[in-house]
Every structure is written in structure tokens, then in C-alpha cells.
Symmetry: C2
Subunit: 325 residues, 2 copies
């Protein structure tokens, strides 16, 4: 089994939190290589820790990540991606600047035939117990209809790799009736209907989150708004519910009795339980980790990368994209 | 005090639910007139019920509401709007087709100087205990930057009418850094900064819902997605939490102890506790009620209309829009 190449230098608490997360994954039997400044990383590792691949440079958050990544072929994020390109790793994980990872992935891996640009795929819990693949979750704004059509193919492969045999593809819109949607939605819908996919049509976010589709295709601007609105709403709900519960002693006793339910619930809805999101459309698997990467989140991101490798996700995406070319 | 003109024929359970809601408002001392088919409405009313103004026509949900509204000057929704235009009512409420209400408002009331089109203003609970005015929540898609600038003025007046003295105006975006946002956001931001308003800049939905601004300006397509994503997330959270709570007897006991907290919480986050949203930008106050209008929601929508009248919201909006012309 190929290891996952982890950019040890990207993320808020890098390299410490990244190393700790990678060590946990390593101990749990998930092969990992850490990529970064060997002189800083090796003292953090025990004798039986994961291997280190040296990278002399780092892309800082402040320096303009995109320009930085172009100027620095030896940056840790790029070395991790190059290990994937060269067949030495099965996937790359970075918790650094998302834009830098994106640019690096396009530069060092290249895009797959049929994909003009890669997309970030977020997975959301649905109220029917299923899961919703949302793409693009923020890599591309002002998308052309052709690009959105390629996202439908990528998203279908992603849902198939999660075990959904004939994923239902929805196009994010503000209503399901004719005449709804903006110009982008109206221009994209006919293109989607020509694809060899199970397209259900325009879908509203609330319907998608209740189970109307398995894949929700959208512009990265709108997808990012959707995701952050859902996070904001959940945060508001949890905050206000806590306030009401703590208002009375009976509430505090009730909450104590419910602590197990709250904890199971928390694990189910935590949008970040996956530790990151897959970036799909390049010639290699990439996980964009959360910037606020705790060791647990890093461990989860590595697990997500390994799950994608085991499922043959890269081949699935390439095959889906080729079906259209 | 002028009455609120209520379209009795629009909404899923019209006219029964509308009449019942209007009667509750009337009994609570909020002046109301019901507009619709007098022969159907009068048998539903007691001797001391609200007045009825006859309208011979109805805009059905199926017939293509926009075309229907143009063809039917005597439709109940248009008669209600005409009462506002003629000074016989202070505001109109309709729970019928939103598009029909919108077209009727532009036809019968006309837009205010400085407003090209009206916007739907939704009010969301924030996690800091404040409230967020979101506009446009769905009346206009593919908005030009100039139109978004007029929404900033309208939204500021709305927040002022809620008692916020110098509302902070945010422009909905997918990030706060330079270079984020789509073409629409980047073109709109300089226009907002020229307005006599307290503009805080681009704001992400999660930050807005945590209190970063009082007014969130956006395209109606994106605003509608935001709103329905928030609703979908809340529904998912509530559904999954209930499942976890009902899994064990201790959970059911805990939930019984928490029933008061859950109820207070429900009232705080119910997005539809207002029964509808204000449509602002025309020469008269209009409330777009929920299509699934229960008597409670209708009562709330009438209360919202009266609150707008008492606060002098129409004058406030007109003054804000004129400050720019």
C-alpha cells in the first residue's frame, strides 16, 4: 500500500499538530510520509515514527500563496504533490493555504483529460441519514456551464466511491420550477442532461440536505456560501440551544442525562469530522485539510486520502471524465 | 391607525387559514381588512370580524402567476396592493405566489426613486443574540452592482427600523481577503464604499450569522441559497439530534426535563416566526407571507406589517434611497 504524503509545514499549528496527527495515523496502520524541513521534523518523531522526505522551502500564509507556490518548486506542499506524481505516494494531504494547494496540484500533477479545473468536494450529512457530495465547494468562482458539467462527472465518481451505485445528480438552484435559477443554472441544465448520468434537475439546498440528490453541482462561490451558511446556522442553533438549556437547573440535569446523545450527535454533524475535502480533477488524489488542523483532523484527513485510494477514486474520476471527451 | 390589507385568497389553505389568522390579529387589536371573494369570506367571519373588500378574481398557483397578475387587475392580491396605493391601507400582506406579489407590487405601487427593483428582506437570528437583515432573499437573480448598492440603502433603513442606530453593512462573499469574491462582488464593493453607510466590507455567511454585520447584501439567487442552506442545516441538526436522543431511555428522560428549553429555543430560531418577509423598494409596504400559511404565520405576518408601519419604515427606505439619487 502506497503511503500518503503529508505536507508537514502547512496549517496553523504546523509542524507540531501535523506531525502528531501523522504519527497517530501511522500507529493506526495507515502508511504516511511527512514532507518538510527534516531538521525540524526529525526531533519531533520517535524511532518508530513515519518517514520524512526533506523539502527546503515553505509557502507562508502571508506571502501571497499563489505567487509563492509558483516561485518555490521545493516548497513542502509541492514536494508532497511531486511524490504523488512520481508514484511514490498514493495521495497528498495539505492543511496549508487552499489556494496554494490548488495551484500546486495543477502545476505538479496536471488536470485529467476532460477536466478543465479541479473542484473541492465537501461531504455533508443529510437528514435522511445519507451523505451529500457538494462540488465545487470553493476552488472556482464564475464557472462556465462546461466546467459545471465536468463537476457533475467528478461528483458522480466521488459518490460511487462512497458506495452509491447510481448517484442522483442535482444542480443547485433557488427553485425547481421552470423559469427559476440564474443565467448560469439555465445554461448548465441542458449540458447536464446530455451526460451519461442520473440527473434529477435543479435542486434547492434544503431539499438536497433532506435527500433529494447524492451530488449537488454548483459554482464554487455559491457552494462556499452554502457550506458556510450551513456551518453558521449549526453554530447559531448550538449556541442558542445551550443558552436555553443552561437557563434552569432542570435543563442542566436534562443535559447531563443527554450528554451521550449530544456527543453522538456532535460526531454525526461535525462538518470537519473528515478533516478536509478531496480536491478532484487532477492526475492524483489530493486532500485539502482544514487550516485549523488539530491532530485529530490531520488523522481524519489521512484516513480520507487512504479511503479514496482504496476505492480507486482517481481511476473512477478519470473514467467518468473520459466518458464525455 | 390604517389597517393592513390581507389577500385572503393566496396561500395553501386559503381562504380558511388566512381568515383565521386575520381574525386573531383583529382580536389582538391590529386593524385588518380582508380582500377577496366576499361571498366566500363573509360566511367565515363572525359579526365582529374584520371588514371585507371584495375582489372578483384570484391568481392561481398553476396558471403562471406573473402573466396571471398582469391580466387580472381585479385579483385579490392586486386589490390589496391598490388599497395601499390609494391610502386606504398602510401595508399589504399576501401568502400567495411570491412572484405574483412582486409583479403586482411593481405594477400597482411602482418603485421608489433610487430603487430599480424591490428586494425581499429576510431576518435571521444571529448567535450573538442580534438579528441579521439579509437582502435580496430571492426576488432578483443576476443582479447588477448598482442594484446591489440600492439594496444596501434599503437594508440599512430596515435595520434602523429594528432599532440599530448605525447598521453595519456587509457584502456577502466567500472570504474577506483581497482577491476573494466573484466578479459581481468585486464590482459592487467600490460602489458600496461610496454610499453614506457604515460598510464593513465583504463578509462570509458564518461570520455574518455570528454578528459581523447587521445587514448582509447579496444577489437574490445567492441569498435564497444561503437561506435554504441554513434552513436545511437546522432541519438536519434537529432530525439527527432527535434520533440520538430517542435511542436510549435516559435520553427520553433528559429530553422531558429539557422540554421547556427546547420550546424556548424553537421560538428563537424558527425562521418563520415572522410569518413572512418585507418586500421593500416600492411605494408602499408589502409583506410576502409563507405559502404554507398557518393562522399563526398569517397573524405574525400582519404583526410584521404593523411593526413596519409604526416604525415609519416606508419613509425611512425612501429617505435612504433618495440620499443617493
Amino acid at each position: 500500500m502506497l503511503p500518503v504524503a503529508v505536507d508537514a509545514m502547512g496549517g496553523d499549528d504546523a509542524p507540531h499538530a501535523i506531525v502528531e496527527g501523522a504519527v497517530r495515523a501511522h500507529k493506526a496502520g495507515l502508511p504516511v510520509v511527512l514532507v518538510g524541513d527534516a531538521a525540524r521534523l526529525e526531533p519531533l518523531l520517535g524511532a518508530s515514527g513515519p518517514d520524512v522526505v526533506h523539502a527546503s522551502d515553505v509557502v507562508g500564509m502571508a506571502e501571497g500563496a499563489v505567487a509563492g507556490v509558483r516561485r518555490k518548486p521545493d516548497a513542502s506542499v509541492r514536494r508532497a504533490l511531486q511524490l504523488v506524481r512520481d508514484g511514490a505516494a498514493g495521495a497528498a494531504v495539505s492543511c496549508g493555504h487552499t489556494g496554494a494547494t490548488l495551484v500546486g496540484a495543477v502545476l505538479d500533477l496536471g488536470v485529467l483529460p476532460g477536466a478543465e479545473r479541479p473542484a473541492i468536494c465537501s461531504v455533508l450529512p443529510r437528514s435522511d441519514g445519507g451523505r451529500l457530495v457538494l462540488l465545487d465547494a470553493g476552488a472556482n468562482v464564475d464557472c462556465k456551464p462546461e466546467l459545471l458539467a465536468s463537476f457533475a462527472l467528478i461528483g458522480s465518481a466521488h459518490a460511487e466511491a462512497m458506495g452509491v451505485l447510481a448517484p442522483r445528480i442535482g444542480l443547485l438552484s433557488n427553485g425547481e420550477e421552470d423559469g427559476k435559477g440564474n443565467a448560469q443554472v439555465r445554461a448548465t441544465l441542458p449540458l447536464l442532461r446530455e451526460l451519461p448520468l442520473r440527473v434529477v434537475g435543479p435542486v434547492e439546498p434544503s431539499a438536497a440536505m433532506a435527500g433529494a440528490c447524492d451530488v449537488l453541482v454548483c459554482d464554487g462561490f455559491v457552494g462556499n456560501i452554502l457550506l458556510k451558511a450551513a456551518e453558521g446556522a449549526v453554530h447559531t442553533v448550538v449556541t442558542l440551544l445551550r443558552e436555553e438549556i443552561e437557563r434552569r437547573p432542570s435543563g442542566r440535569l436534562g443535559a447531563w442525562l443527554l450528554r451521550g446523545a449530544f456527543e453522538r450527535f456532535r460526531r454525526r454533524v461535525a462538518w470537519d469530522a473528515q478533516g478536509g475535502a478531496l480536491l478532484l480533477g487532477t492526475r492524483g488524489l489530493v486532500v485539502v485539510g482544514h487550516g485549523r488542523a488539530t491532530p485529530d483532523a490531520v488523522h481524519s484527513a489521512i484516513r480520507l486520502a487512504h479511503r479514496g485510494m482504496r476505492a480507486g477514486l482517481l481511476d473512477g474520476v478519470a473514467r467518468r471524465l473520459a466518458s464525455r471527451a
